[in-house]
């Protein structure tokens, strides 16, 4: 991926692609809240001395104790998009939206206030601004599904704080697979749900299709995060309409910092990228398909 012109002034300490470099090594954060949000949980931790991440970046997380048990998984840390980040010089206050899908997320779900949270991050490539993706951009369309709301939530706030207009289209399979809506407070959102429990009964991509039809595709920029099928629908639609898009993707990760080459994501141009350092936010045009096993937030 060639380096891009950096059209926007970056915060001090930002590197390539606007990514915020992580402090070297794993450090201890402290859990200050762990609350249910629909079918998910929002886990908030203090990260003393840690930097403020850029929207779209992620952290590798593990609990301080009980990461494992009976010689069983989890063994490796787990990747989570940061969903909300505030704070300043003394450190950051980070929130993660977590869906319990296996041993690692189950363990994280049991965290209590005061527990240690081992973290490495922020990692990876963040979202690009709309004008970086489309010089004629009029604003941003955020398309999220399920746990994919996490990176979009912080991105929405960032855009809002920069005065960039954004609209969010959020979709859920059913009640169980929804949560994190409070992260979108005070913003313009439209909902879709497959079971009809909220908003439009159907897919969030139905909403996107309508919006791109109404809108001028020329000025649109789409940011999407969600399950592989949703990501793929967004990718295909944007390709069809010639709309610039970025996808926040997923793949199994062992390290999160380019060390293991485990997070291979097929490139349209052939071969693979390492999603942890070349992503997790990728240009939609760079991937052949988002229908890769484990490639999207469920």
């Amino acid at each position: 991926m060639p380096a891009r012109a950096d059209s926007e002034p970056r915060a001090a300490g930002r590197g390539e692609d606007g990514r915020v470099p992580a402090p070297f090594g794993r450090r201890r954060g402290e859990v200050i809240a762990n609350e249910p949000s629909g079918g998910y949980r929002i886990i908030t931790a203090l990260d003393p001395g840690g930097p403020l991440p850029a929207a779209g970046q992620f952290y590798m997380l593990a609990t301080e104790g009980g990461w494992g048990g009976d010689g069983e998984r989890p063994f490796l840390p787990r990747a989570f998009s940061v969903a909300e980040a505030t704070g300043g010089a003394e450190g950051a206050r980070l929130s993660f939206l977590v869906e319990d899908v296996g041993p690692g997320t189950a363990r994280l779900a049991t965290l209590s206030e005061g527990d240690g949270l081992l973290l490495t991050g922020p990692l990876g490539r963040p979202f690009s601004t709309p004008d970086e993706l489309n010089p004629d951009a009029a604003g941003a369309i955020l398309v999220g599904g399920g746990i994919g709301l996490a990176p979009l939530a912080i991105w929405r706030r960032t855009l809002a704080s920069r005065g960039i207009p954004e609209r969010s289209l959020l979709g859920f399979r059913d009640r169980q697979h929804s949560g994190g809506l409070e992260l979108f407070r005070c913003s313009e959102i439209r909902l879709a749900s497959e079971d009809g429990h909220a908003g439009h009964r159907g897919y969030v991509t139905d909403l996107l299709e309508r919006m791109l039809a109404g809108d001028s595709a020329r000025t649109a920029v789409v940011y999407a995060c969600g399950p592989p099928a949703m990501l793929e629908a967004v990718r295909a639609l944007c390709e069809l309409r010639g709309v610039a898009a970025e996808l926040a993707m997923e793949s199994p990760m062992a390290c999160g910092f380019g060390a293991c080459f485990g997070c291979a994501m097929p490139l349209r141009s052939g071969g693979y990228m390492r999603l942890c350092v070349d992503g997790p936010v990728v240009r939609a045009a760079d991937v052949e398909t988002a229908l890769v096993m484990g490639a999207g937030h469920r």
């Binding site: 402090p23 490796l76 840390p77 060390a259």
Partner: protein, 299 residues
Amino acid sequence: MSPAGAVDLCGIELAHPIINASGTFDAIAARRAFGDAVLERFPFSAYVSKTITPAARTGNPPPRLWEEGAGMVNSIGLPNKGLEGFLEADLPLLAELPVPLIVSVMATSAEQFAPLVEAVADRSEVAALELNVSCPNVHSGLIVGEEPDETAALMATLRPLTAKPLIVKLTPNVAEPATIAIAAEQGGADAVSLINTLKAAPLLVDGTPWLGAGSGGLSGPAVRTIALKQVADVAAAIEIPVVGMGGVERGSDAATLLAAGATAVAVGTASFRDPLAAERIRAELEALQPVAGGGSGKP
């Protein structure tokens, strides 16, 4: 003398005995993630590159990772830019590291290995080469590192090509690794390193392989006692130095490998859990009391 002090690894001066295992720490990617702190606080006393091959490789299809309770199985498949790409794109960046550079190389025949070794050894930035021989010989079909004769034949071709140290990386998937180590030593190797990963295959309940490549290699704490056995056996069988690795998670693991006869210890999988694991391991090693002569440590 502190067990965490300087060591001489076949002529390479190491500030301390902790290096990285090939393919488990990409210093260039780490700088993208962590910035120049990687240079300022480099946790290894030498840097071993990921294995490079004559031609570029994209690596195995995903999934490439499987997690176990005390380790992991990988089928990465040696993605790399190939010799040319490595020399052009990576070597200049790796030369910026504050430690000696060991380049891991692999090919599928002695004829393919030779120009690779020559070209890499030719570069002044390179302190030594590690020969990854866990690969099939395309002629014999045999895995070079599984057969003493194949290993000896390879060394006969490669040894004359360079005066730089050649470190042979041994596979653990043999009955007696010492037989391979002896062949390597007799062939002129300057050191051996072990263990590489153990052949393993995570399968789903219906028998389907999880990994895109079908099977892979096990690493991490699960293999620690296997590594100890093999390192002790090999160190007892040869005179040249041994780089010990396999499941090192703590300073005491490193100390044990050193006591078993290793000159240096490599940290692999542990770096995935904590990018600075090696720094902690070295500090723990330093904090260990020097062992009283002859004391068994048994209660």
